[in-house]
Symmetry: C2
Amino acid sequence: MTDAAFEIGGEEIPVLSTGEQAYERIKHDIVFGVLQPGQRLPLDRLKSVYGVGISTLREILNRLAPEGLVVAEGQRGFQVAPCSATDLKELADLRLLIESNALAQSFEAGDVEWEGRVVAAHHKLARMEQRLLAGDETGTQAWKRYDFEFHQALVSACGSKALLDLHAGIYDRYLRYQMVFFIFWGPTSTEDHKALLDCALDRDAAKAQKLLHGHIHGCIDVALERGLVG
Amino acid sequence: MTDAAFEIGGEEIPVLSTGEQAYERIKHDIVFGVLQPGQRLPLDRLKSVYGVGISTLREILNRLAPEGLVVAEGQRGFQVAPCSATDLKELADLRLLIESNALAQSFEAGDVEWEGRVVAAHHKLARMEQRLLAGDETGTQAWKRYDFEFHQALVSACGSKALLDLHAGIYDRYLRYQMVFFIFWGPTSTEDHKALLDCALDRDAAKAQKLLHGHIHGCIDVALERGLVG
DNA sequence: AACTGATAATTCATCGATCATCAGTTGATT
DNA sequence: AATCAACTGATGATCGATGAATTATCAGTT
């Protein structure tokens, strides 16, 4: 339908196809709770909402299914993957396992380039968190992106593409719980990020793993305490 | 097209839809090397081979893509995920990480039911390995299934569905290397399995993890030594 | 009034058709 | 003769149509 890339002044700007665009939108709407957990996804409705044909829609949903954001019960269509407390706990443990491991390898192998990426990512995240703490709620989505980019940067030198892909996928599923149930409890998170940055520059993997453990479990404990998740 | 389930004498036998059937066949053909790494997958050709329509085919390929068995280069169709030595190493490390962790949790939580599953799975695997060592090469595919079922049984009590799904997915990708490059080096593998069984019954997770490490790395070292992988 | 069975309406799975895109080839121009 | 452009055949992406399955509705019966 469209070109794969579009040239402007020497810089290549990728132009997404109809399907890719819709894929991104639907994924975004699931992660951010516009499409709610457990909600059925009638094809005709989605068709008009996202402006793509049935077949393209089904391709997208089939792609989202192995990623764990959509479930397909054969012959009965699709629905947004339901949320549960046990699933949240499993995801948290999984993220911790994957990210801890990647963290250690990354700290081992990271060069100065990597340090640069980490510092830059942390700076952007910290700025956004300042704004959020100041009451500016407009940037919640931007905040999640910077949070991801920071954690991504931390593990980016682990040397394993497979590990990074896995981490990204689990992060998305985990993020959905944060977004759907509006989990953001401010200062503690900010401190954790700063401490993680320091660990990275000191190459103190053990301490970073401990911090990550607290960072993640602190987050889900808040959710489970408040009884937010069914 | 067909019923989701078919009742016979109280037991429910799932009847797969056209799409599900083709999905299983294509996945099988990729894992077992019928469709070779890097090979392009022209839709018209697959259409006639597997006897399904274009749209259904694309659904299947889109589902296989996040599973890591197929890659989709935008606007230029699909191809079987290529193989490389680095990818094999990454997968081995990943499988080790996931399975080691699941093993420890499973040993912790496993009950007598679990022990039964493990013993049964090992028995079937051992029988098949006997036949293979005796020169009966007809059962290579059955062997892989029993090997998976044994490892699956070992971790089945870990208590995390997310972890089990992840393990299954990575196992498939890892298995492909074994199948495509005909890696089976007999006695050592058989001994490993017996030792793993003993560890399970003794609940000795640390020893099991060591064994698993040797089991997996021994396997890929053979492949890398022989220069089988690109 | 509640249950069961048949029928109608909705939703899904699968398909081939159509249009856009890509790669290889030919031909014109310098 | 070499280079670039337009042409052409092949392949992929997107779409709506069609028949099958599921769910909802309603009448008839106990």
